[in-house]
Amino acid sequence: MRPASGRHSRWGLRALGLGYLALLLLAPLVTIFYKTFEHGLAPPLEAITSPDGLHALKLSLLMVAIAVPLNTIFGVGCALLLVRHRRRGSALIDAVINLPFAISPVVIGLSLFLLYGTKGWFGPGLDEAGIKVLFSVPGMVLASIFVSLPFVVRETVPVLQEIGTEQEQAASTLGANAWQTFWRITLPAIRWGVAYGVVLTTARVLGEFGAVSIVSGQISGETETLPLFVEKQFQNFNQAGAFGASVVLALLALATLLAMNVLKRKEDA
């Protein structure tokens, strides 16, 4: 009796879980794909191969190319500092790193705006030096870095804690210096944590809207990333363009996830 009812409740739970996911995650995604290709391939293709569309794609990839490596290096270094060299003040750093999670991206965008604006702390000085931060790529990079900063740290810290220090100590008794120990022992041991952090960072940078939208000024063909492009197409009643760009965004995210899975599978084999 009990096994039978156990099986029933298991199936019930599974159906509930899958149904929930389907409704909340899959349904919107499927809708986008459906709507995009409703009238064939031509309209969405046209929208994303337009000069503005291509520029937006390039700019989004540029954000990823700059923000992700920087946040990865910073994230791994910061995680090492937090786990391996715990000092007074570490708790504060730990808390500050979570700020981008806690603060709304719009607020982040506004604060950058105030900081680098013509009347901000850094704005005038940089202006004199001929560096334009707001309404140009540097400001958008700053915003992207800010919003995606915690991911690598957060994914790396628990893995570092889990592997412990013994392997590193063993390496040092075998003659490895700190640098060799990091490259040959620590990094390989934490690589999946870091990789997962990188995937999340990439996804966040690709998808960031609020903060980038404020500092960029949303100039078509100049400071428009893919999400901003989607929003503008949508506002202009160009549904095909909006959906087409959305599909590109979704595909990029899927590609990132797949890349990690392929790498991981190769590793396990």
């Binding site: 013994e166 392997q167 100590q169 063993a170 390496a171 040092s172 008794t173 075998l174 003659g175 490895a176 210096n177 060799q180 040959r184 022992i185 390989p188 041991a189």
Partner: protein, 345 residues
């Protein structure tokens, strides 16, 4: 390459792990650091390797002060209790790690690694990952890895602590044989006095961050410097101010002036050895270690009244008292020199 530690002290917050410890380990010896957990034995070993920095004191390896040298320059082989295997590397890569760091060429590394894998009987498993090995195999791999770089000294931190009893015994014998072949100065940490006596030529008994006594196994067993050493190295009964080993308790059926009345409480057969527990008239509980033949001759049973004649009783409060036939004046009375390991292998 002899090792000596002079006046080593180390605290972790409020906890004093080492309190002015000095030891002397002769070249080529196999020495055990023996003590309960928290006695400072692992900290001392790690300080020798440079994995802990001392608050005071210094570490000398082969008459050179290495206190300021980082671990990677001390040329010590270190084996951890939980193996510290490099999980993302094969057995071959693990053992060859130190050689790769030293930039040996591939052919030489391969030859040396296979030589060592043969030594630790893992030659067929070179391409396995640590997760595919048993605990004993992992520890032998860790040992091969430490030996690959031909360290000046070999340090083992509870190397068999995580293994089951049978494997532990095998590895013990194996380590002793290995040391006889290689003669590299070896220190190993253990809390198991039987293991220490089985493997090591000399023992350093530690407690609460200090060295209680050093010497050969016989020295410590027959002439313990104090109560702690006596009770830690072997079993002991307490009789008033004195201490007596369970195998020095004679059980007789007729009283005389040196015997004490006792009642048999429990008889436990542990194979060849029989453990008989008694309660004395004053309520003290003691036990005697008898052989099967002795038990059969006495025909003891539970509740029976018998007489105990404690031989070789030791007392540490004043003069050694002798209660029976065996006199027991320590050959070497405890003095300030007890930190020195006197006997050579």
């Amino acid at each position: 390459m002899g090792i000596s530690v002079e006046g080593a002290s180390k605290s972790f917050g409020d906890f004093q792990a080492l309190n002015d410890v000095s030891i002397e380990v002769p070249n080529g010896s196999l020495t055990a650091l023996l003590g309960p957990s928290g006695s400072g034995k692992s900290t001392l070993l790690r300080a020798i390797a440079g994995l802990e920095t001392l608050d005071a004191g210094r570490v000398m390896i082969d008459d050179e002060d290495v206190s300021k040298k980082p671990t990677q320059k001390r040329e010590v082989g270190f084996v951890f209790q939980h193996y510290a295997a490099f999980k993302h590397m094969t057995v071959f890569e693990n053992v060859g790690f130190g050689l790769k760091i030293r930039k040996w060429d591939k052919a030489k590394i391969s030859a040396r690694v296979h030589e060592l894998l043969q030594l630790v009987q893992l030659d067929g498993l070179a391409d396995r990952y640590p997760s595919q090995l048993s605990g004993g195999q992992r520890q032998r791999m860790a040992l091969a890895r430490a030996l690959a770089v031909e360290p000046q000294v070999l340090l083992l931190d509870e190397p068999f602590g995580a293994l089951d009893a049978k494997v532990r015994k095998d590895l013990r014998t194996w380590l002793r044989n290995l040391h006889e072949e290689m003669h590299v100065t070896t220190i190993f940490v253990t809390h198991d006095q039987e293991e220490a006596m089985d493997v090591a030529g000399q023992l350093v008994v530690m407690n609460e961050g200090r060295v209680e006594q050093s010497g050969s196994a016989d020295d410590l067993y027959d002439h313990p410097a104090n109560e702690f050493v006596m009770s830690f190295v072997g079993e002991v009964n307490r009789l008033g101010d004195g201490f007596v080993r369970p195998h020095d308790m004679d059980v007789v059926l007729d009283p005389d002036e040196n015997t004490e009345e006792a009642m048999v409480q429990r008889i436990v057969a542990l194979g060849f050895e029989i453990r008989v527990e008694f309660v004395l008239a004053d309520g003290t509980e003691v036990w005697a270690q008898l052989t099967r033949a002795e038990l059969q001759k006495l025909e003891l049973r539970q509740g029976q009244i018998v007489y105990l004649r404690p031989g070789k009783t030791k007392s540490f409060s004043g003069e050694p008292s002798s209660n029976g036939s065996g006199a027991s004046t320590p050959r070497r009375p405890p003095d300030g020199d007890d930190a020195e390991v006197s006997a050579a292998v």
